[in-house]
Symmetry: D2
């Protein structure tokens, strides 16, 4: 057992920290002003192009992607870097081309895409030239059970015809979004886990209607691509747009899931660290009832608890990454669920306390805390509500006792 | 001891429920569309004028105000009505002219205002012709301790000159807002509780800059008047605008506080009831893993807990109202703090569960839940963070043991 | 609505408080010594006889029992008195002949007993000459669902024959326990709620084996009658010992339940008040890190939270008592479950904090806190675990939505 | 980074698991009977001698002790073994001669003892021939701040004279306890951290009065040596009994603390695993409302949460052990506090849920759960209440922000 980062990880952490200090943090107020001044909440912020150029120059690019197409890091090596990008979650991930849902979509294309699909879509995504969307959740069914997905993908000659309604399609509101990966049912008569497929749908295909941006707690998450309601009406794409063949939707979703969880959870941990930092700064600066918050027992409890909880969380996520690297997603199943259960709610708790330490300002646009909170809260629902994962984890835990 | 509402209360509850059913609930989707279609997030929604006219016609008007100027109800009689308006918190309170901060401002004017002040400002407020703002919190000091308020109100001949910076000035973004009550320091050398005063500042007075609307978790709360940052630079008003004389700011704030707490808490309880109703509807409608949510143990726990907690809360708030009516604000001090501590966090918990039962939709604009949540959360900070009230309540509880 | 106690209640509260101050509290250390010095953990403590004599002399006797047999108070009048006895839960309830399970057993005999049963058992119980046990829970079935009760009560000529195994039979370890009320199945073929009956079984009947005292968290609860495992093997009693006829077991259990809940919950609230008092005393006396605990924010939070929670709890229990008095047990069904859910866990939380404020001493025999805690914790299971009650309450809450 | 146990650890885990399966678990019911049948709650149970002989035969002995005197394992290697002994906490630790407080006392003697002290006391302790006690906590002061310790140790010629009162002196009730390590003040005028010393006091020294066993939630913890109140009145021991010289008490306490925390926390985790196992067994066996508990959502939540929390805890404790091995106690300071804060309360939560799943039986002597709970709860106070550790951890976290 060894709890230290390896040399490659430490080196990249150093480089990433320097990038954050020198470029990302200074860009935050700039971005805030640019966002306020734009009429279109979904517009790209000019400062992002500068950050991307700088990151690429420094070789901080596509760090998330293992194998030849990306930086070639293991999950365990990338995880601490994802955490660092979470410290400035609205700028840093995209700046280093490691922002969801592009990351997951690139993984899918790298692992399951044909050479043609890769040339057409993976390459510009890797270059950061276009963005992408992932269309899975549907408003009308409990989408946490993927077998409920009702969107139809039907073969018609050399084409597939897509019909259905999605929402919370991450990334679909971005003007640069050109391609969507859509999950839908190709064969309702196949065995349960072979009914669904994934297909590539260019955003400008006739019949695709990006109807509106969904809000989360009042936020549009515009600059990060937002969450769209998208209606597909007789949308026709070439048959070659299917990914890895019919019936592979469930398997691809599973493969996409593991790394996505690591990324999300580590970024959340980075957000939590940022929140603790803000809470500590506030605590030493703000005086109430004759002494700084930092000397008040209740605030001390918040800070200590935050530290105790973050340390546990990070270890669990890192171990999960290690398991994925060593025994694969399947062997890490319990842990992949565990981090989804543990991380959002813990980070939500920490950010809530940081908000409370900031008084009224904490809920406002003057600090990043309220928006961080909304992200953490939303992740208690993304990929299925926590309750679904607890149920599933418990059933696995109970299995040995059932077969006695 | 008697836990039943009196006849007058029951009668008004019936009338208010009918008004909600026949006019307010049907107006909710109308208001949503009008809000989306307006360019100005602070604009009045046309539907509100209709609701106000209808409410007034029905005699459901100024219910909050005791005495000759209002409906003449006791706190205990009004409290259950405030709860009902909380069921549609963005329409109902204003429709019956019982919306904060106008309610508190009208109380102040009714109790402490001169006949001239009343004629000029109270009358149009009671008529629902204008709206008002309350300017207390400051960004630079821990405003939960009123003695920290730093805005200066200085006498200069026949005028007072106001200088300072306020934020979260409720109501100040409303186009109809014409008058502000501003708290500030008139005499820094006076005893601690005599340093502050309240003064009437017309919103169009030179030197008043309503700088921007503060957001709460991404919401502008525009249609309800929002929360403004307001800067006062050498703002001059006639000396007769002072309320109840110099040094009375603290005393007025205390008097304003009690009823305001009752109103806020009862409206929150109404929101909680609405959230439970939505959660129950969702639970019977949505099927996951082969059975409705309503048959799943975890959701049942949420519903049962919500009921158990609401019942306790309501009783505590009603008892507080009864104490205020029978022994006065001072005798109800502990309870007034207790309801502030207990209500927002409990309602926050309940709404959180309702959100979770709604899946991704729960955090979006398609259900009122996320915005209800933001209101409940914010009230953990309004009037000072809960921690301040717990500290103060504990000290009162400990007092008898110190003097042994 | 009126939140004040009536004159009769206030008068009795005054008398009971005086009795506590003058006799019960001073008897606590005496009882502790007597308990340590006795070899038999189930023996009566001599001090109890003195307390009972004094209480009776003062007219503080059988306060719990409505109607001609008892003090004739309503539930709402008795509830605040039950709270006071909870302040010294190991002495006060028995001292005023209001200790479980005798209270419930006397209620059953008063309401359902024949004149012969009343003469034989109710009279000596009312006189405090004997004690009694209640035998319901069984180790082998989930007894929270009364229809699972498996003990058989079979008619054989002029007798009933009882066979079965009970545990946590409250009161059965007391040397003075002479009579047991036993729940068991008389007719397995009857409709579900008519299968069970209750029968009177004298403790010295052949075939009754009081096998052992069950411990709760290491405590025997000896002086209060303990909790016994009792085995019934071909136990024969006269047919006239059946209570209210065959098939009435479930109905009697329901009738017994409501007042029992009020008593338990109010006593728990009394315990919580005692714990808060001890916590406050400790807080002002004990210095750590340079200042009394009373000035430390974390301890202040505990004290404030305790007060906020107790106030809500008490109101809910009192309202439940009022409902029982005005609309009956059935109309108070939701509230009777709500207080069972809310009270034990809340009091457990409060006592836990009081323990924590006492350091190591808090878990020891030097303070009453650890034992109070064990009682509160155990009541999360008594009458069925909280989870069962939440499930049932939720189903009632959901019912209107199912029939839309 | 590597999250796998090394080969030595895996080998010993295998051997220890076999010992548990073949000897310890079967001895549990035997021990329960022997305990019930003995008149003296502090007596050694005959079965323990057999277990110790067997463990020693298997080479499972003194595993906790690094260096030449013990098994020579690192903290990281021993930690998973301590966890396994926690699965049967009343038998396994002592069986393998790894029971507190002997472990800590042996560490002190091995690290700080003179050859004479080691020959006289360490050797028989290592042989498992005698037991020992640790006397630190005092009833009259907040002992979590070691500088408050008031017991005096005064030099008088060739002797030291000890005067003071201790309680919760672990191990002191054991008949085999022959030696006590006592913390006390030698020089009140020395710098704060040099005032205290530790000294060896044979239990049979005149003036030592082991006054009584302290209970924890009704348990005497007799077979494990209990927790004694001990009064020292003019107790004279040779000057050579001082450990590591005058003024070293604080330093020794600090050195003793780190490994002790690891041991306690890992044993608690073992208890939690045992509780989860019992909860799962119960869940599949017990039917309520028509289906096994294992299929009920609320119980599934408990099981899933337990797993999620245990995994995080274990990683944190193992990382702490790794830090102690690699950078020393000082470098692991934050983590040593963090595990103390996180572990007892988490395990308490888990055991509470296991109790709840067991119904009334869960609080009784028929399952080990209630006693496990009492141990976990007590550890929220041992070594100082959690609040003290949170305060200290927060101050360390805040330090960088203070010196900006």
């Amino acid at each position: 057992m060894d709890f230290g980062y390896d040399a490659r990880t430490e080196e990249l952490r150093g480089q990433l920290l320097a990038f954050l200090d020198e470029h990302v943090y200074p860009a935050e107020p700039v971005a805030a002003v640019q966002f306020r001044e734009t009429a279109d909440p979904w517009a790209r912020l000019p400062v992002m192009a500068e950050l991307k150029a700088e990151a690429r120059k420094r070789g901080l690019w596509n760090l998330f992607l293992p194998g030849e197409h990306g930086a070639g890091l293991t999950n365990l090596q990338y995880a601490p870097l994802a955490e660092l990008t979470g410290r400035s979650p609205h700028l840093a991930p995209e700046a280093v081309n490691c922002a969801a849902p592009d990351t997951g979509n690139m993984e899918v294309l790298a692992e399951f895409g044909t050479p043609e699909q890769q040339a057409r879509w993976l390459t510009p995504l890797l270059e950061g030239e276009i963005r992408s969307a992932f269309c899975m959740t549907e408003p009308d069914v409990a989408s946490s059970d993927a077998s409920n997905i009702a969107t139809r993908i039907e073969r018609d000659g050399d084409e597939y015809v897509v019909n259905g309604r999605k929402w919370f399609a991450s990334g679909a509101m971005a003007p640069e979004c050109e391609i969507m990966i859509v999950m839908g049912r190709t064969d309702p008569d196949a065995p349960k886990h072979r009914q669904q497929s994934m297909i590539l749908v260019p955003r400008d295909t006739p019949g695709v209607e990006v109807r509106r941006g969904m809000e989360v707690f009042g936020y549009t998450d515009g600059p990060h691509g937002g969450h769209a309601e998208v209606v597909f009406t007789d949308v026709r794409v070439p048959a070659s747009n299917i990914i890895a063949g019919e019936g592979m939707g469930f398997a691809i979703a599973q493969a996409r899931l593991g790394p996505g969880r690591i990324h999300h959870c580590m970024r959340l941990i980075g957000m939590a660290e940022r929140a603790v930092e803000l809470m500590c700064r506030r605590a030493v600066d703000r005086v109430a009832f004759g002494k700084p918050l930092a000397e008040q027992g209740v605030v001390q409890e918040w800070i200590a608890e935050s530290r105790v909880r973050i340390e546990q969380l990070r270890l669990l996520v890192l171990k999960t990454a290690w398991l994925m690297d060593t025994v694969g997603n399947k062997g890490a199943h319990t842990e992949i669920q565990a981090i989804k259960i543990a991380t959002p709610r813990t980070v939500e708790w920490i950010v809530d306390k940081a908000i409370q330490a900031h008084g009224a300002g904490g809920v406002s646009q003057d600090f990043p805390l309220a928006q961080l909170w909304a992200q953490a809260r939303t992740l208690r629902l993304a990929d299925g509500p926590d309750e679904v994962h607890r149920r599933s984890l418990a059933r696995r835990e109970l299995k040995p006792y059932l077969n006695r």
